[in-house]
Symmetry: C2
Amino acid sequence: MQASPAITAQQVPIALGDRAYNILIGQALIGDAATWADLPVAHAALIVTNDTVAPLYAARLRTQLASRHAVVHQVTLPDGEEHKTWQTLNLIFDGLLSNGCDRKTVIYALGGGVVGDMAGFAAASYMRGVPFVQVPTTLLAQVDSSVGGKTAINHPLGKNMIGAFYQPQRVVCDLDTLTTLPARELSAGLAEVIKYGPIADMAFLDWIEANMAALLAREPAALAHAVRRSCEIKAWVVGQDEREAGLRAILNFGHTFGHAIESGLGYGEWLHGEAVGCGMVMATQLSLRLGLVDAAFADRLTALIGAAGLPLKGPRLGAARYMELMRVDKKAEAGEIRFVVIDGPGRAAMRAAPDALVAEVIDACCA
Amino acid sequence: MQASPAITAQQVPIALGDRAYNILIGQALIGDAATWADLPVAHAALIVTNDTVAPLYAARLRTQLASRHAVVHQVTLPDGEEHKTWQTLNLIFDGLLSNGCDRKTVIYALGGGVVGDMAGFAAASYMRGVPFVQVPTTLLAQVDSSVGGKTAINHPLGKNMIGAFYQPQRVVCDLDTLTTLPARELSAGLAEVIKYGPIADMAFLDWIEANMAALLAREPAALAHAVRRSCEIKAWVVGQDEREAGLRAILNFGHTFGHAIESGLGYGEWLHGEAVGCGMVMATQLSLRLGLVDAAFADRLTALIGAAGLPLKGPRLGAARYMELMRVDKKAEAGEIRFVVIDGPGRAAMRAAPDALVAEVIDACCA
């Protein structure tokens, strides 16, 4: 018998008109029938997961889905960012078609950001769109990638270059899944949690600083607050700018440098959150050199990223290679790289910057 | 110097709120600067075309686009339905990324249905969506596939299984491109023209019968009317049901049997329009055996399909194989095939049908 949850389950609504949905946050959610109530009814479900997560949580999810769907299929992908490719995506399409899944089939993404991005893009594209549900099992996916409808796969020439804006029916953040998360993955998730402070909410940054030890110790109450506040901020941004016409780009703080690290080293070498953490250090240095923040702010943010167990120095790819990789960033226009910078504490902005200054930042931040 | 057009250019609006656009129909449109006015401004354009169409019309389009975009790239795909695959789609992504195309880049689809479907899906997916313009150069693409935002690629297990609903910025139907169309392609296009009669407009069916000779002789006035009326009917249907929740499925009259022919024989063996023509004969026979239309109606429609130069007998794949192929149709639900039938002249409906009856139709219609 399962102990009753210590944390009251919470909901964060994403207000997107006829694409509105809720994020559920709590303990023991996967095994609770109420979690799945009111989701689309269909003959078939397909669980997309990976070979790390499947042995831990797939049976628990299957048990619940078996009472809602006549058949529950499963596709288990290899784990890791290096598999976020068309070849792996095709395994999902093969599973859907070989099992005769129709256009009402509900896809459940059970895993981290890679599973969510691929299952989401498969759901967006299979028969031009079937419903899907996000069941993120990593901190990074719970606080960021599962929310807001961005789905994608990588291309050898750029990260997340092929995808769709496609909203899930629900996001189920079961905090219990974080108990099995490797420490390195926990730190990677904290990078995206920290992100929300400097771009939008300095009070949240204060809270993260004060609670970093509790977060690293995986105290449920601390994790619950971190996930909820992160989702609230993301919901607020996405509700105003679903398709990233402007504001939404601030969520990419640290990602321009970070994506360059990921694709420059080869996907999977660094975790996405590790690259984002280090990318935030670099973007903060850029903000400092542009005169937008002071040294005390930059030092404080860098220290917090370090306290989360994240690398503070980027790999030595050389400034020229960084620049080349960043020019294919989705925010670039006509070859001009555009950075998310901190425009004063708690406020982000988009900016181009002189190449020489960016190169200076890269040289200073790589070891 | 180009002779002045004999046919007045016309516009058919597609009413889809903030995704609304116009279909332009006329002669000498590609070479007319007014055709391209008011389209999105961007540093780069990418023309997607195929190796049959490129030598005929790409230069004409490039000349126009060169005055609107600083750089105009081109990706030339191999021609044919058998190339509507992920591998070929990737050539478009490779072209976009290797040329550093950003998220404002406008994609121009210059070719038939295969080019339009692939360029459209690439536009829907590249950086999660860039603007695109359809420039259909076949009758089939002008009257059907370029309009309404359905984009897709094939999967070995089913046709158009992976794709997106993604609307173009404009559709440019230059009737002059039909002068270079092979006769077999013209007939294939007429299948989709004929389709609009039995499902929606018997007066249009009368007109097609009366003007079949003029259509086969490619008289501009006849082609202009066929394209315009087809687009009007399609616009009316798509304006009510963009994502095929119901009504839009009637546009798939003949397609359930037709897709089975295409994937059963191997993509590219029959042209899509040929398979649809024959599929309409089969769907009409099914409607007859369900008591929905009389023999005179079935004979009349079959004769018209034959007069267009289309095959009336399907390949002998065997009823069991047809049934198996049709069960992966996008309209199927929980393994039950759903057919678009004619529910009285000028009116279509969706229906399941007893397997034995469907097998009877297949046996009667294959040679």
